[in-house]
Symmetry: C2
Subunit: 104 residues, 2 copies
Amino acid sequence: MDIEERKKVAAFANAISNPVRVEILYFLANRNQCYFGDIKKDLPLCKATVSQHLKELKKVGLIQGEIEGPKTKYCINAEKWNEARQLLDEFLSGSNNICKCGSH
Amino acid sequence: MDIEERKKVAAFANAISNPVRVEILYFLANRNQCYFGDIKKDLPLCKATVSQHLKELKKVGLIQGEIEGPKTKYCINAEKWNEARQLLDEFLSGSNNICKCGSH
DNA sequence: ATCATTGTTTGTATTTTTACGAACAGTTGC
DNA sequence: GCAACTGTTCGTAAAAATACAAACAATGAT
């Protein structure tokens, strides 16, 4: 795994590093489509903050949004989602080392 | 996956969310033991900053350190490492949804 | 056209993260 | 003891992340 891939690992992990965003992703992963309002209802935060988190998830590509009438429909971007899964798995598969330190 | 596990997902992801920490983990994952000085040599940062990152990785349990003479030996904590791997994989396995949004 | 509904964007305050130098602490060798 | 080496901790500055209210924009209904 080269340096560029490792940077992607950090970027994907960064998207998942916030409990709110984990909740959003979990929510989206368990329905195949939903509106902003549904996501917002699930969270104890104001709409601006929710929108901000969604924007960040969109930025790394893990989700995508589509304007539908007056509402916005969000869902997981399967392609990026799988890329993240594969990258993180590859990264975390990288250690078959037996630890030589004490304090177990 | 319950809320507590999802919080752990966020916590592990948070440890991996920084490029420097990814480099440290990658470095450690590819040797089975090494000293603070070796890690520091690999990074363009002052020792205080490196120490800080190591402290954070130790806090979530992904690595462990052991004082050995005047040096400190660090290595991956295999148990936590595997827990992180399993949790993240489970989380990212959670979406078999076909996206219903456009803009592909 | 006007109004209510749905989200986004902007401005801002607070907190957290990241990085550094300096001070400190422990170990080894003289 | 004292000096050299290895890391950690402390204090602090700068940047980024998080959250909110208010303003804004777009659509749909009346």
